[in-house]
């Protein structure tokens, strides 16, 4: 017989895995229930982690004490730092992973946690008593009791897979959908809706003529995701770039009348930034080619993923079109692309802790909230896991603000705005992106993760040590001057003005054309200092450069962020009836009642709540 757990996590994807790990590592007795224990943290779509804005999220999860970064480092087959030509806030790590290894490493990592149990089953009902959760009921008829439940059902809730005119129930190709739970939640008063996403065909790599594709190699000096010691990537596998052409487009068009999307069989909204190939052809008919990426699925397998060719057209159409792509003339497929439509629960029903407003101790995380992407899911998972544990232990909420982390932006966006298409993170969603860099995720978040007991002492000591070293280096650069004869040649080479008399190195570093590497080389005193102290690794030098060079911008954003944080600290009452405040506009009353913001800052970001409404709230708060 199963005992009573502190926390049950339903679902073993990226959200579920992080949630279970965080809750268990914080001391809760956790049960992870999933329909398929051999597919923990499965990469159901492309075999890659990170990317612009998403890479920052993985670094943040790592800094807090999560696993996504570590697992990615252990299983990656290629690493690239994207946007290196842009400012430091845009640098974004991205890795191709071995898909099988990724899932295996995750499971092994979870198995190391003693107070985490596993069970393969399907949850069909949430058990509640007096408005709080007490456990779950499974399809095998078991009732399992717990203090809190975290739902991370991904795309499995009433999932329907579409390939052309065929459609069948499924949570992912080859896996059954989860049925019954949506209806159960609806009957409890939760609102649900449908979304759609898709994935491309998987191909036998032996049938591709790579000589006709462009190679895309990994970085010469590959970076990594985790701030702790993880294995360095020695060898890398390349990705390959291919292009569609007019013939491919014409052929695909012949299947449009059998497309479940175009003929309206799929009702859910799909992501605009991740359209199917038929959507791209239809909407951008003037483009006569589209870029495709051939991504290897792992070190040893011949299976490859054709990124950019997502489709739910009939299989025969997908195959006929595929062989018209240069290099794919003899392509054999493992399985066709498909679209999947699934239930999600509009995240405006949640609190900042990911707990539902309707049922106490019930949490939602991941795609069930209408997001997309492994990184977004994992971020919600770790936050739900942390908060479920803390609430059971009578501890305060753990909330990250929009100026703390992309994770804060993500959750704030979800619960204040809701979603109308699968939500993906972009850097433009963050108003303080210059503060939310991948290089400083540890400086920003490890102290917070350590304080709640999730980030290890070792992590914290590393951060303190790194911070001290950065400070020492900055102090030196600010104090030390350089002479014209040392530096002028470098300055001229970089196309910037010479100096006439000695100047502080930090001053020269402010010039956009100047890089710290060049200064170290040119200025003997600088060079010598680094050599003698031998404590300034690449990471520290880079961080010092960013902090000095972009100080004006960083301070400016911090100032605005600090000003706003005052608003964030002003708490609003819970479950307040805003209709009692006739001075608020009608729209504001409606929205505030529905969303129940917990701070003035939160309220101010709700569309339809005007500055005047905020003044009215301030008046009622009596400051």
């Amino acid at each position: 017989m199963l005992g009573k757990y502190d926390i049950i996590v339903v679902g073993g994807g990226h959200a579920g895995a992080e949630a279970a790990a965080a809750a268990a590592n914080l001391g809760s007795n956790v049960l992870l229930i999933t329909m398929n224990l051999t597919a923990i943290a499965e990469m159901s779509c492309n075999p890659a982690m990170g990317g612009v804005a998403k890479g920052q999220i993985v670094r943040e999860i790592d800094a807090l004490g999560g696993y996504s970064g570590i697992i990615t480092d252990k299983t990656m087959i290629q690493f690239r730092m994207l946007n290196k030509s842009k400012g430091p806030a845009m640098w974004s790590p991205r890795a191709q992973s071995d898909r099988w290894l990724f899932s295996k490493e995750w499971r092994l990592e979870l198995e190391k946690i003693p107070n985490l149990d596993f069970r393969e089953d399907m949850v069909i009902r949430i058990l509640t008593k007096d408005g709080r959760v007490i456990g779950v009921e499974t399809s095998m008829g078991l009732e399992i009791f717990a203090g809190a439940v975290i739902l991370t059902n991904g795309t499995f809730l009433n999932g329907i897979i579409y390939v052309g005119e065929k459609s069948f129930g499924g949570g992912r190709i080859g896996d059954k959908p989860s049925v019954g739970l949506t209806e159960n939640l609806n009957s409890m008063g939760f609102e649900s809706a449908r979304l759609k996403t898709g994935t491309p065909v998987r191909i036998d790599g032996r049938s591709i003529d790579y000589s006709r594709l462009e190679e895309q190699k990994g970085d010469q000096v590959p970076g990594k995701f985790s701030f702790i010691d993880t294995p360095k990537l020695e060898n890398q596998k390349s990705c390959w770039v291919a292009y569609t052409n007019k013939k491919v487009h014409d052929l695909l068009r012949t299947g449009f009348d059998r497309s479940p999307m175009f003929i309206g069989r799929i009702k859910g909204t799909g992501p605009r930034y991740c359209p199917s190939i038929e959507d791209k052809i239809d909407r951008f008919s003037h483009k006569d080619r589209h870029q495709l990426f051939v991504e290897p699925e792992g070190w040893d397998t011949v299976e490859v993923y054709l990124n950019g060719f997502s489709s739910s057209l009939p299989e025969d159409i997908q195959c006929k079109a595929l062989v018209l792509i240069e290099g794919f003339e003899n392509a054999r497929i493992f399985r066709p692309g498909y679209a999947i439509e699934y239930d999600y629960f509009p995240p405006t029903q949640l609190k900042y802790t990911m707990e539902t407003r309707l049922v106490e101790h019930l949490y939602f995380a991941g795609q069930i909230n209408g997001t997309t992407g492994y990184e977004e899911a994992a971020a919600q998972g770790i936050m739900a896991g942390i908060n479920a544990n803390r609430k059971l232990n009578g501890l305060s909420d753990f909330i990250l603000s929009r100026s703390d982390a992309y994770i804060g932006v993500l959750i704030d966006d979800l619960i204040t705005k809701g979603v109308d298409e699968p939500y993906r993170m972009f850097t433009s969603r963050a108003e303080y992106r210059i503060l939310l860099r991948q290089d400083n995720a540890d400086l920003r978040l490890t102290p917070k993760g350590y304080e709640i007991g999730l980030a290890s002492k070792e992590r914290m000591m590393r951060v303190e040590d790194k911070r001290n070293r950065i400070d020492r280096l900055i102090e030196f650069i600010k104090k030390k001057s350089t002479l014209p004869e040392e530096i002028n040649k470098y300055l001229t080479d970089r196309g910037t003005d010479k100096i006439k008399e000695k100047q502080k190195i930090s001053n020269i570093l402010l010039r956009p054309q100047v890089e710290i590497g060049g200064l170290i080389e040119a200025i003997p005193g600088f060079n010598e200092f680094l050599r003698k102290r031998n404590e300034f690794d690449k990471e520290v030098i880079e961080e010092a450069e960013i902090q000095l060079k972009y100080d004006r911008y960083i301070s400016k954003e911090r100032e605005v962020a600090n000003k706003l944080s005052k608003m964030e600290d002003l708490k609003l009452p819970e479950n307040f009836d805003y209709h009692k405040l006739p001075a608020l506009s009608y729209e504001a009353r409606e929205k505030l009642n529905r969303l129940q913001p917990n701070t003035i800052g939160h309220a101010s970001r709700i569309s339809g709540v005007s500055p005047a409404d905020i003044s009215v709230l301030l008046v009622y708060l009596g400051r």
Binding site: K86, R272, P512, K566, V619
Partner: protein
């Protein structure tokens, strides 16, 4: 984006005209906040040599001149209130100046230039409340006041703008979204197979943006103060004496009359000030031209123009008109008006031609018709006092001066931010850093154009570029 909240409680210094709207013998401008004294010192020269406002005693009054850089604006009295002994509880000054709109506007501009921010509706009262000047039982009253004021300010924002202006603002907004999208495209979608804008293209867009804003700023600058006013439309069938009536009104008041070309060339406007409140007669030329359409009552364009007005004078010839016809016209118009708060005034013109009581006289009287003779200028004062009364009775509000200054300030600040953007490009600063200044520009312009959200930018990107692998 979310800075709107901070502006409510921020420690900044705010200013506004505290006396009733319009011209009068004197006017009062209130300044409150930590910088009240330092800002005043920069623009006020006391006649008593060596007096420093920051060192003057609280509740004292000082005579002197106001202006900057040798530009003398007015002679004023400066009232000093030291925290917490002021209405708001903060350091505050009140400037008593001469009452012309021009001077009021100029002093406000001066304050803004030296670091004040224009107060939001009800903000003085809000600050007073937050600083404990009221007890909690008064909270409701304060909240109601804020809500009421903001509604009025909101109505003003775009409704009262004249046709040409709001079109320009829309264009500007579109261009800004495009510009921002192009920059964000480079950042968030650098890996995509789309064509990124080159610097030359961005520069072009940027300078056209700056030009646009500069033009708007110019249209606001002083000298054009009189452009503001409560919009009044005079309509009616041909030959009922509309232009004669307008001339009669202008003459009756012997007030400041100016003919100012509007932002679009074909709009001619006349502004008069009645008892300190300015009224702007809009686009009468257009309506005169559209006489046939008026009869047909079918042309949307006519309605659109009339929609800008707050007061509509419907002129008819009493010696000829029929009650049913007038009633029909009025009903028809009302059905087409989005804004039900407009005031309708029926003018029965040409009483000089009457030989006997008009046929439908009784019914016309019931409609509160004002009977005049534009030609002989009889009873025109009844009309002007009716116009003025509608302001006093609160049917119509005149806050255009404030709203215009607000817009002016927002435009100035956004121009500044765009100049920083340009400088950033010149210095070859990474795009993500340049967007910090751009965000500022968007924020300020948002006060005029309506907020531009991230979702809108992303939507524009997804609409224009093929994103997604």
């Amino acid at each position: 984006m979310a800075t709107k909240a901070s502006e409510i409680t921020g420690p900044d210094t705010i200013c506004a005209i505290a006396s009733p709207p319009g011209s009068g013998a004197i006017a009062m401008i209130r300044v409150s906040g930590p910088q009240s004294f330092s800002i005043s010192e920069k623009i006020f020269s006391p006649s008593k040599k060596g007096l420093k406002i920051s060192q003057a005693k609280t509740h004292t009054i000082h005579f002197g001149t106001i202006g900057d850089a040798g530009n003398l604006l007015d002679e004023v009295l400066m009232y000093i209130y030291k925290s917490p002994h002021s209405y708001t509880g903060e350091d505050a000054v009140e400037i008593s100046c001469h009452g012309s709109l021009f001077i009021q506007q100029k002093i406000i501009e001066l304050l803004l230039r030296h670091g004040c921010r224009l107060a939001r509706p009800g903000e003085f009262t809000l600050r007073a409340y937050l600083n404990g000047k009221f007890d909690l039982s008064q909270a409701e009253a304060v909240a109601d006041l804020i809500a009421a004021n903001s509604q009025a300010a909101h109505d003003l924002a775009l409704n009262q703008m004249r046709g040409g202006f709001s079109v320009k603002i829309k264009e500007l907004r579109g261009k800004l979204i495009d510009f921002t999208s192009l920059l964000e495209l480079e950042l968030d979608f650098s890996e995509e197979d789309v064509e990124f804008a080159d610097r030359k293209q961005l520069f072009k867009l940027l300078s056209s943006l700056k030009e646009e804003i500069t033009r708007l700023i110019d249209s606001f600058s002083v000298g054009n103060v009189l452009k503001t006013g409560i919009p009044v439309a005079i309509i009616g069938k041909p030959n009922v004496g509309k232009s004669t009536l307008l001339n009669a009104i202008l003459n009756e008041e012997r007030a400041i009359v100016s003919e100012i070309p509007g932002t679009t060339r074909d709009i001619i406007e006349d502004t008069i000030i009645i008892d300190g409140v300015s009224f702007r007669f809009i686009d009468t030329a257009g309506i005169r031209k559209a006489k046939d359409e008026i009869e047909a009552m079918g042309i949307e364009k006519t309605y659109e123009k009339i929609n800008q007005a707050k007061i509509i004078l419907y002129v008819c010839d009493v010696s000829e008109c029929l009650y049913d016809e007038i009633k029909g016209v009025v009903e028809d118009f009302k059905n087409h008006m989005k804004d039900t708060t407009k005031r309708w005034v029926l003018i029965g013109n040409k009483i000089d031609k009457l030989v006997s009581t008009p046929k439908d006289f009784r019914e016309l009287v019931d409609l509160e018709t004002i009977f005049v003779s534009a030609k002989r200028r009889e009873n025109i004062h009844m009309l002007t006092s009716s116009l003025r009364l509608s302001v006093d009775e609160g049917q119509i509000t005149d806050q255009t001066l404030v709203s215009n200054t607000r817009h002016y300030e927002a435009l100035k600040k956004s121009l500044e931010s765009l100049e920083n953007v340009e400088q950033g490009f010149h210095d070859d600063i990474p795009t993500d850093l340049v967007t910090i200044d751009l965000k500022q520009a968007l924020h300020y312009l948002g006060q005029i154009t309506g907020e531009i959200t991230t979702d809108e930018i992303l939507g524009n990107i997804f609409g224009r570029f093929c994103i997604g692998k």
